[in-house]
């Protein structure tokens, strides 16, 4: 597997550590700890235990027969991250970072959350490991994801509403960073995606690479070969990063990240950072960014709270520039249709985030032969979204 990032945290020209001096010592310590845990068999064994016994891994790789027939082309497999405990891939990372926090002697964890899936996964793990937990969430997201807010509170976390800026994930991240600056001695910040300053993008990817490793083994057992394409949604990009990583050096496997085109790339209402942004610095790293001419960060828009972020992980920026992966975007309406299609054909209600990856399949699968295969990362389940989907379907007259 490729060896990036380099020792300064760069994937090619993207990544780095753009944070206030107050956090630098903590980041250097975290990098050191992470390097040790990565090589430590006992830590890895303990993490495996929790992934299997607590989280329910490995998650199935499901051949979606009816969906395949409907699309009329490549065989479609779904990597069922929605079947993880708490309902999304997010817990792969929070278990890893939570266990690290315990080993580093931290008593408190904090996190930002958009859709609430990362917040729930953090609150869950914090409770299980006996850590205090504070979750920052934008007011707009609190409104959209009421169910997850209740779940976090039920799990004993305190949820702090963030009312600055766009009142979404970007602003929740700002507030979590401010908390960390002030409490860095006793607090570990569990960043939920492959964003933030080094070592987060690499560390979160490594905790998520279990998705890709399992997929590789499972498909080999079923079909005796590698997939032709992997398709995953990209907000910050953690499920895609972990899904792609074990395949990066398998050049025959096409890697496709699907961003949220919101109301369309020609409007101001989208969250397609790699498709429509340009390089910039936000939340500690240099990557693609939605921004205006003066370098002010733009407000992203997506029907999916988990993709509603104007930045993206620096490794994705690198994979785009190097041409190894390609990034496309689908609209709110296309995602909604895919959401309903999967429910009707396969009896699976997936997260709106994952529905973006599925929506792209309608363009991809029919162009491929029936001998070819595509694996879609079904990053989460859709219980959290049913209320907003019901409203959106009515509004869009779909």
């Amino acid at each position: 597997m490729h060896s990036l990032p380099d020792h300064k945290g760069y994937f090619g020209s993207f990544g780095g550590r753009f944070v206030p001096e107050t956090l630098m010592t903590a980041l250097l310590e975290l990098e050191e700890s992470y390097r040790n845990f990565k090589e430590n068999p006992q830590f890895q064994q303990e993490l495996q235990y929790y992934l299997q016994q607590y989280c329910g891994r490995p998650t199935p790789l499901y051949y979606a027969d009816r969906l395949t027939k409907r699309l009329g082309g490549a065989k479609v497999y779904l990597k069922r991250e929605d079947l993880n405990h708490t309902g999304a891939h997010k817990i792969n990372n929070t278990l890893g970072q939570g266990l690290m926090a315990v080993k580093m002697g931290k008593k408190r964890v904090i996190a930002e959350t958009g859709a609430g899936q990362h917040g729930v996964a953090t609150a869950t793990v914090a409770t299980m490991f006996g850590l205090k937990c504070t979750i920052y969430m934008g007011e707009e997201d609190i409104r959209r994801q009421e169910l997850n807010v209740f779940r976090m509170k039920l799990l004993g976390a305190s949820v702090i509403p963030v009312s600055s800026g766009s009142k979404t994930l970007k602003d929740a991240t700002n507030e979590a960073l401010r908390d960390w600056v002030a409490n860095v001695d006793n607090t570990h910040y569990i960043i939920g995606s492959v964003v933030g300053p080094h070592p987060y993008p690499a560390m979160v990817r490594d905790f998520q690479k279990v998705i890709g490793l399992e997929t590789k083994d499972q498909l080999f057992n079923i079909a005796g070969k590698l997939p032709d394409y992997l398709v995953a949604c990209v907000g910050g990009g953690s499920n895609a990063a972990g899904f792609f990583y074990p395949f990066i050096e398998e050049n025959a496997v096409g890697l496709i990240g699907v961003e949220a085109a919101g109301k369309g790339l020609s409007t101001a209402y989208h969250a397609a950072t790699l498709s429509a942004g340009k390089p910039g610095v936000l939340h500690g790293n240099l990557s693609y960014l939605l921004q205006d001419e003066a370098g002010q960060v733009a407000i992203a828009h997506s029907i999916s709270a988990g993709l509603d972020y104007p930045g993206v992980g620096p490794e994705h920026a690198y994979l785009k520039e190097s041409g190894r992966a390609c990034y496309v975007a689908v609209t709110d309406a296309e995602a909604l249709k895919a959401f309903r299609m999967l429910a009707r054909l396969e009896g699976i209600i997936c997260a709106l985030e994952s529905a973006h990856a599925l929506a792209y399949l309608e363009q991809l699968a029919p162009k491929l032969s029936t001998q070819q295969s595509v694996v879609v990362c079904l990053s989460g389940r859709g219980d959290k979204d049913v209320a907003s989907v019901s409203k959106a379907l009515k509004e869009a007259d779909l």
Binding site: S164, G165, V181, G280, V281, Q291, V297
Partner: protein, 261 residues
């Protein structure tokens, strides 16, 4: 000679402590900021820091966040703040710094930024999200143009980081008094004092203490442990209170006057 160096030279000869006043440029508007800067210069400020508003100011507390949001509503940009510095420079010799997050500089282009900063008569640049490891290139090009790139140190900075920072630093070192964001506090933490002491033992460069400085008592209690203090949120709050332009100028002027020593 850079105005920051000559000012600290003079302060040391007169055995006085410097007052560095921070305002968010464009709050309430750029014309008023210009008048406020002149008022600050008349009222005992030794240097002025012009804050460039940013959409995501992670190192700032609520007061400067709100000022930043107001200035952004006025469409204030890095370029407009540098133009403001240029106008002030025409009739004042007070050392001027800009404090900006890195993305506006990155979007403007490093080279273009240095040229414009020089042409505007700027003396120094502070970029709170550009630590030692990332500051290399911008710091070097600013310095070659005769401007200071001001490094920050925090109570969490390790001894080896303090050592590396003092070797790279010029102008002065911005010592952050607390592990936290900007905002007025009424005491100085022992961690802040220890940082000053540790840094002093390694360098003769002027040390400025910032974050949380809001009253003359704090400054007097500091004695000669710092060469200057930076006053930000406390001033911004007085500007936020509003009223007529005369009232605002009178308010910031009399506030700053209390710090003369």
């Amino acid at each position: 000679m850079n105005r920051i160096d000559s000012t600290f030279g003079r302060l040391r000869m007169e055995n006085r402590k410097g007052i560095i006043a921070y305002v968010t440029a464009g709050d309430p508007d750029l014309e008023t900021t210009e008048k406020i800067v002149l008022k600050l210069a008349e009222s005992g400020a030794s240097m002025v820091e012009l804050g460039v508003p940013f959409s995501d100011p992670v190192a700032d507390g609520p007061v400067i966040q709100a000022a930043s949001a107001r200035a952004l509503k006025n469409k204030v940009t890095l370029e407009k703040v540098l133009d403001l510095a240029g106008r002030i420079r025409k009739y004042s010799d007070i050392p001027l710094l800009v404090m900006t997050y890195y993305n506006p500089v990155y979007a403007y282009g490093n080279k273009r930024f240095v040229e414009k900063a020089l042409a505007s008569g700027l003396d120094g640049v502070i970029i709170p999200d550009l630590p030692l490891e990332e500051a290399g290139l911008p710091a070097k090009s600013l310095r070659e143009a005769g401007l200071h790139y001001i490094y920050l140190l925090a109570p969490t900075s390790s001894p080896s980081r303090i050592k590396k920072t003092v070797t790279s630093a010029s102008g002065f070192i911005y010592c952050v008094s607390v592990a936290g964001v900007t905002g007025a506090r009424d005491f100085i933490t022992t961690a802040g004092l220890r940082l000053l002491k540790d840094t002093r033992s390694l360098t003769d460069l002027p040390l400025a203490l910032g974050f949380g400085i809001s009253c003359p008592e704090q400054v007097r209690a500091l004695g000669d442990q710092a060469d200057a203090v930076i006053i930000g949120s406390a001033l911004v709050k007085l500007i936020e209170k509003g009223g007529t332009e005369e009232e605002v100028l009178e308010r910031v002027g009399s506030f700053l006057n209390k710090f003369r020593c």
